[in-house]
Subunit: 331 residues, 2 copies
DNA sequence: CTGTTAGCGCCTTCAC
DNA sequence: GTGAAGGCGCTAACAG
């Protein structure tokens, strides 16, 4: 009997209407991913991970762009929340207005990706930005650099992306007894290649040029590489460059780019797990998860001196396999 | 009265349930965009254009990845067609099995992006690939190159992306009386940076190195730049390089990349227009639309000789403003 | 102009 | 085991 029905289904080419099903069960199997810009390689790669993992769990992903505009973020969240199209939202925000988030919590499951927010009202998953920044700068120090610049973000306390990275940068300098020179930090309005070029122009306008630049995104770093080239400086001979995000393209630049690599796939996995739990009705208090990161060493920071190289590799390899939180890998 | 209701809506925070609305009216306002990989910069930029234009027309875009796998393409199209989630599909396919498309036409409005299919059963919009390739190679010839290689695609007749580009490449050579050397074409399994490196390795293994390389994607070109660098060849001094897609990153490479630039925004606009017409019930026969392209000249092809530079610029500027189909722009 | 109703396609419940 | 019914929230059609 069951078979007879099945046969009829096949013959008539029956497809269940997901709309009606969704209406009936109050669940669509669709989640929304909100990113500033899908054209930014980091967000593209993140989206890819999320789409893959979600489809493995039976969810479909709708991607929307916020342009990093908080108003648009709110608007899109409202639409998502009200319309019941979607079961939940993954929000990769740049700067988020705190107050409004609370209102959304009641409406719809939301998990924040990447940046941390102060009020502990929403689930969040990201890397330890401060620690990652410290790792990167400490590596530059170990490789013999002393005038280490940093570029990216506005450096304001409210800037939840750049602030911890600046703190980590300062911590590393302090740890090595290197005085902090405010001229060596260049703020940028965004994390694009163009801004990376501008920031380098600014840094080179001062009397003493930096011998290393820690960029808060790979895009900034690519712009920096380009502008250093324009200025006739050689990387890594004259200046070391480190990026952040470990975007795929960074393996192919000339020189290839040393970069802080967040574990994107674990980020996606954790975020989806938390979101799906919420969708399934979990009411546990908001959680704050950390995923690992690694410093991927490539050409833009030059050869490491022999001792520190092996030491570093061995030391951190053991460490990272133990904690799975961070490490240094030479590629 | 109308106002009293409105007031009540506001007070109670009423949000229409789009699911029920969709069920009732048989229309969701959602379209699906199928791309091979969202991490490929070209598809990212295309997705961005489409999301923007769609939202301006009141549509939301769901992005799904096919991995360029025809089976997955079909599966996703089937899901889309059956489930009635979506009003229509934009499909950016690499190689599509012809037969199956016909079946889909009846199910759901579909517009093909980029690659052309033989059977005229579905709407299609793309650039004139053959003409674009000819433009690029003619430019290389005008700038004095004679051993011009091409890389990308499998070169099979069924490969609807690479075939017209190869034809255009050959046409340009023939037009200039340059004999076609089969060793100067390197096939690649995909359009990635890694494949670009491999292809260059292959080209350099032959006795006489090329003095120019025309790559069928910017990603291939970035890999080519990198591998030429590894081999100690200078670009553009020893070898000119031209890419295809004019991805944003190509402005920042060292050297910056000359590239064929499809009019992505018009591509998105045209595709959406056609799709929405279909969604609105239009039954006109399948259309085949062309959008413009431009050759953006940057550092990777060196300085153009003075006469041909101005001549070219003037000539093609006029031409392109007239036909809006192609042109050469020096950046 | 306002009020009522039927039904989009599904799934869950309850009855047989 | 099979069958029937109600209702998810909406809107189009119709009645008052």
């Amino acid at each position: 009997m069951r078979e007879k029905v099945q046969q009829a289904l096949d013959e008539l080419g029956y497809r269940p209407n997901m709309l009606a099903r969704g209406l009936r069960q109050g669940r669509t199997g669709i989640i929304t991913l909100l990113v500033p810009q899908i054209t930014v390689p980091y967000f593209g790669e993140l989206a890819h991970e999320i789409v893959e993992q979600a489809s493995a769990r039976g969810f479909t992903v709708m991607i929307d762009e916020t342009d990093g505009d908080p108003e648009r973020e709110i608007a899109l969240l409202k639409v998502a929340g009200g319309s019941s199209w979607v079961d939940g939202v993954l929000l990769s925000s740049l700067g988020l207005e705190e107050g409004v988030l609370g209102a959304l919590k009641s409406t719809l499951p939301v998990v924040l990706l990447g940046e941390h927010t102060a009020d502990e009202v929403l689930d969040h998953v990201g890397i330890d930005n401060e620690r990652a920044a410290t790792d990167a700068v400490e590596f530059l120090i170990r490789s013999g650099r002393t005038r280490i610049a940093a570029i990216g973000g506005m450096g304001e306390a409210s800037d939840r992306t750049s602030r911890p990275r600046i703190d980590g940068y300062h911590a590393a300098l302090r740890g090595a007894g290197i005085p902090i020179d405010p001229q060596l930090y260049a703020a940028t309005p965004d994390y694009t290649r163009g801004s990376g070029m501008d920031a380098v122009t600014q840094l080179l306008s001062f009397a003493e040029a930096p011998d290393a630049i820690f960029c808060f995104s790979d895009d900034l770093a690519l712009g920096a590489l380009r502008q250093l080239h324009n200025a006739g400086l050689r990387v890594p001979d004259d200046v070391s460059v480190v990026g952040f995000d470990d975007v795929d393209g960074s393996r192919f630049t000339i020189p290839s780019l040393t970069s802080v690599s967040p574990d994107k796939s674990e980020l996606a996995r954790t975020a989806l797990e938390m979101l799906i739990e919420r969708i399934d009705g979990s009411m546990v208090p908001a959680r704050d998860m950390r995923v690992g990161h690694t410093l991927i060493v490539r050409e833009s920071t030059g050869e490491i001196t022999v001792e520190s190289a092996s030491e570093t590799a061995a030391e951190t390899a053991a460490e990272s396999s133990a904690s799975a939180i961070h490490g240094v890998v030479t590629q």
